[in-house]
Amino acid sequence: MARNTPIESGKTGGCKASSCGSSSQQMSHLSEEIRQKVFNHPCYSEQAHHHFARMHVAVAPACNIQCNYCNRKYDCANESRPGVVSELLHPEQAVKKVMAVAAAIPQMTVVGIAGPGDPLANPERSFTTFRGIAEFAPDIKLCVSTNGLALPQHVEALSRHNIDHVTITINTLDEEIGAEIYPWVFWNHRRIRGRAGARILIEQQQKGLEMLTARGILVKVNSVMVPGVNDEHLKAVSREVKAKGAFLHNVMPLIAEAEHGTYYGIMEQRSPSAGELQSLQDACAGDMNMMRHCRQCRADAVGLLGEDRGAEFTLEKIETMEFDYEAIRAKRAAVQEAIALEMNTPKAAVTTVPLAMLRRRSAAPAALMAVATKGGNVINQHFGHASEFLVYEASERGVRFIGTRRTDQYCVGSDHCDEGEDKLRLAIEALAGCKAVLCARIGITPWEALEAAGIKPDSDHSMESIEEAVAALYQAMLTAGVLADDVEVGASVA
């Protein structure tokens, strides 16, 4: 039975899709200068994130604002979301950690400071760290992710430190909405609350964005989608930041669990569904390059996007390590050159499979298909082992990457980490809206549960290339007439 096809191990970790949506279109209009800046940056290039790794160093604990989705008290090693770290580092410890990771993961090209507070609310610690890294590894790209409040006053220093990529979290242009997201900001030696505080934050963010783009620094804008608060408004945000020269817009879903102790968690503010997120991303995509491969990683994450090898590089472990800088540099250069070569082969450039083999029929519905994979762009993971699924949209136009769905949904603590029934329930919830899930193998219990939930389990395409398998299954389901017409998800996207 095909269901029992043995799995073979591929590369592990990271996003495994060979294509993430419109990356080739996204890259094609870029100047050579910008292309050089993003080709190996996993957070700025969808293509790059299949190959290159990043790390965040948690040197910036202080923050100068309060966001309703953040709680500075929470710290769990099993949890994955921005603002969470296990170990706060001093700059010299951070530099040593970067050396350790550079040696162990030569495809690590990017070091960012993203918290757990705001890097620019900790300028001494952040810039000391950057100087230390640049000294031993000038090839590493440096970036920061900031709330923007202190951005204008630090643009000069960012430029001087060769920080080429800055992410600003911009959730609104409107102080009324802002007051619903930010209870206060610290500005000019005072805590300023409500609309007045939000107004200052918005002004500084927009000013900082303009100053950065005027200097040619690449800016990505992150927005947290909060249903009923800023969801509709984010379309206007997308247009505005594009007009001001931002390179990429990343709309992320709110993460809110009561266990996190955040305002939104405790007040039971709901997170958007995967479908709502996708619709908003698609609506914004008419105006702006959208990022869809974000994993909302921790402020101390290490590795490819979608994996976290932070536990291999704890302070205790790196303390005794010795480094041969010359050997590390040579190895990094060789590995990265090989990856660049591989990426430039035509195979890697293919992003959409034209479904020439699809039988033309009028108004064939689009369908979301989930895939379990361990990497290598093939379907090679057991359903029960998948902690995330890649989701593709199949339609008459082809197959495109839509995003990822996690089965652990940001882990809510050991009480909720029971195996078995609970895990299956979470996996099925994560697959809501999908018409099928393709995996290497699957047990009979989840098979039946998926069928009962209206999701077709499929292990007939084990070890096949993802896009081709998705296309084949879509065609088979269309032919069998099992795709309802009510699943026009994302059908309006060009």
């Binding site: 202080a62 100068n64 500075r72 507070g117 609310a121 209870p183 030696h189 005072r190 805590r191 007040m267």
Partner: protein, 86 residues
Amino acid sequence: MAVKIVESCVNCWACQPLCPSDAIYEAQPHFLVDAKRCTECDGEYADPQCASICPIECAIVDGLGEALNPLGSLTNIPLAKLLAMA
């Protein structure tokens, strides 16, 4: 006159560089205020700087032991919910 940092401090470093009197120092299990140096920012700023940026309710108290950021003052979470959680 001196403020005090108490056990709910999460060691986020936000206050330390802001102190005009250099009275705040890293310690275990949490940051502390040197009472001999602290002026509560009297004559320097309208409000004590440490308490103006501190993100944790009740982590900084005044000379009388009163929280400078009482429960419910920083997050807008209704007091009843906070008390129920505590």
